[in-house]
Amino acid sequence: MLLELKNVSKAFSGVQVLDDINIGIKKGEVHVLLGENGAGKSTIIKIITGAYKMDSGEIKWKDRHLQVNKPSDAIEVGIGTIYQELNLIPHLSIMENIFLGHEKKKRRKFSLLDRPAMNKEAKRLMERLGQNVNPNELVKNLGVGQQQLVEIAKALSLNCELIIMDEPTSSLSEREAEQLLQTIERLKQQGMTIIYISHRLEEIKRISDRITVLRDGKKIRTVDTDKTTIDEMISLMVGRSLENKFPKVEFEKGKEVLSVKNLKITPDSPGINFSAYQGEILGIAGLVGAGRTELARAIFGADPVHSGEIIVLGKKHRIRNPLDAIKAGLAFITENRKEEGLFLDQPLVFNKTIARLNKVKKNGLINTQKQKEIANNYVKDLSVRPNNIHLFARYLSGGNQQKVVIAKWLFTDAQVFIFDEPTRGIDVGAKVEVYRLMNQLVENGAGVIVISSELPEILGISDRILVMNEGQITADLDRSEANQEVIMKAATGG
């Protein structure tokens, strides 16, 4: 065994998050940790890397006791990690980020940095990942996908024996994800050991050797990938089988809820036109950087636009800021929940009601009792775990955080919901719950627009699909005429 966890336990404020976990990682394998949101996957990773201290248990590295007190300890023995949250420094360059903490120096420990050598190496590493970039470009100027690749280059630059990746593909487009999976396969051939976390079952099936399933902080079982099926993975994970990953419900197509006319973000960008209707889920597909988020933000008034008309339920609205948009009946669930969605150091009840405090007012003041009731109901409906409305959002797992953001917008009584990558980083079970929610919204007469880079998802849930490429809509496909090839063709402008 390269790495072994023995009887590892960890509790946060009295809540047992990991309970007596035993896992062995063999040299040269791709080992997947699988489990629902909040199962404890990221916590295991953070214990291995020294970001958290375990309460009890032991870590063995090459059959010897390993003491990790701080992240640099793990890095030193040869464990490189890509955390679930991006950990880059925005105002430093790609090169500096890649070599952060293990810079190349001209001579000894205290000498000046060897920038030319690092530049060359950074460029080589990024090329290995299919990116031809200037290593001096600042990371803040990169898109999320490229940033993720910088993280991977950073791990590779460590020359480590074990790379841990916590949901690396969740922010990548299909094409970038494909590139990453190929990189992983190549690394595996070169004898690299990888611990991999993902909620995308297909890719797990494709690249992994063994899978350890966790549920509620307990290890359920470790299985060999080639001896299991996706359905079995799901049932191990959620404790029951899941009949339908995409619970599509067909509704009657109703009247137009949102119409975007000749929307131009800059004076010389092409005008965008499209409509969304009651009774349908409108999917928007495209590669990373296709301009989908940009479009959504423009509609929602989050960024300034040059010109264009936005009509909600037949009424023209002038939307200059998000408040105008909310008043017009729009809701926008952004793709970065931490930066743009959550109040991390506020309890769930605060997060839940902040966008529409008028609804919990009594005699002009906020009625905290009512606020709590409402929050409790939603926590139950969306099965947020743990179901404690006083818990700070910071302490929820990624998936549960996403549920809280969605809950915030459900509370605003919007007519049109724009979801930007709504299932990024959430588990299969929770995904189904989100899809059900969307169905419910459609049933209630709301318009639902879903931006997603996961093609199966777009195909599985949409009634109609728009495809974007370079800021333009290149296809408007009905559910019946859409498939992966057609979409990819429109998305790449081919």
Binding site: P322, F343, D345, I354, L357, H390
Partner: protein, 334 residues
């Protein structure tokens, strides 16, 4: 959570456990600074026989009130992850203009009071407008600028000399007592209640926390960030002016150099009171206790006849200790 209203259900158990704990945390959080205050008081009571005399307690109430008012004002910018360095200067410009209006121009005192608060609010409003309309990156620098500007104006307006001879009504807030209790302290308590309700029970109040927690998320949640920030700085200016009114009453004078370095005491009170410098965390009551701790400390050291140099050192150490105790308390909770 002793008065459980409903029969506990199965699923509620985890929640209830958490709830009790969180409520404990909540109380402990308030109790934290309060605990420090009580401890300090006990020590001082033992060391100085005069400390617990009603007379002296009223001294403390009176002496804490100006800083308390400024601190409650300061809490707002700090909750939004900002700061207001100009409060001392706003205090000065508000009171000297009040002096000009009532003493020099001879207008009625009630107009003087109104003008005082108005000038404070306007000065605060300008801070808010500079921050939001010029899109300055951080209020540290804009209020550092206005701190100079307002101070300079106060000096120019008065030709650098203090104004005296205020009428009873203007002096009232800072001078009068109800029985033994100073009006100024009653004013502080009143203001605390108002601000507590404002911060916890109104939308704008909650928005202040939201902006401090995550400005971008607040904007995307439809919160009118700029408007809230303008309100925040306006209120901070208003509280500085109110503090100035009390200062007039206490000293029967409006000096253009009034309030020098008051911003540091106000910031210290807010932080000692448990607010986070990064915004989003802090309460009115904590801030009040923070202001009381500073006042008690100064008073006690005066009673003990400690020299100013040693006072300076002790206050420095207490500031650090207060925050450290808070850190320990939070850590023990996790």
């Amino acid at each position: 959570m002793k008065q459980t209203e409903v029969v506990p259900q199965q699923e509620d158990i985890v929640m209830k456990k958490n709830r009790t704990k969180i409520d404990f945390k909540y109380i402990a959080n308030k109790f934290g600074a309060l605990f420090g205050l009580i401890l300090l008081s006990i020590v001082l009571a033992i060391m100085s026989p005069s400390f617990l005399k009603v007379d002296n307690l009223m001294n403390i109430a009176r002496q804490s009130s100006i800083n308390a008012l400024l601190s409650i004002g300061m809490l707002l910018p700090i909750l939004t992850a900002g700061i207001d360095l100009s409060v001392g200067s706003i205090l000065a410009i508000s009171i000297v203009i009040t002096g000009v209006v009532t003493v020099i121009w001879g207008m009625p005192p009630i107009i003087g009071i109104f003008v005082c608060l108005l000038i404070g609010a306007m000065a605060g409003l300008l801070n808010g407008l500079l921050l939001t309309k010029l899109k300055l990156p951080h209020p540290f620098i804009s209020t550092l600028g206005t701190m100079n500007v307002y101070r300079g104006l106060a000096l120019i307006i008065t030709g650098a000399s203090p104004i005296f001879g205020f009428s009873y009504l203007i002096n009232f807030a800072g001078q009068a007592n109800v029985g033994a209790i100073p009006i100024s302290f009653i004013l502080v308590i009143f203001v605390c209640v108002i601000f507590h309700i404002f911060l916890t029970r109104t939308a704008t109040g909650r928005y202040i926390y939201a902006i401090g927690g995550n400005k971008e998320a607040a904007r995307l949640s439809g919160i009118p960030v700029d408007r809230v920030l303008i309100i925040v700085y306006t209120l901070s200016g208003l509280m500085a002016a109110l503090g100035g009114l009390v200062l007039i009453g206490r000293t029967n004078a409006a000096s253009p150099i009034a309030g020098l370095t008051y911003e540091l005491d106000a910031i210290a009170a807010v932080i000692i009171g448990g607010a986070s410098f990064f915004g989003g965390i802090g309460t009115v009551w904590g801030t009040l206790i923070g202001a009381m701790i500073i006042a008690v400390l100064r008073n006690g050291l005066n009673l003990l006849g400690t020299s100013t140099d040693i006072q300076t050192v002790v206050i420095g150490i207490v500031i650090i200790l207060a925050v450290y105790v808070d850190v320990l308390r939070r850590r023990s909770k996790n």
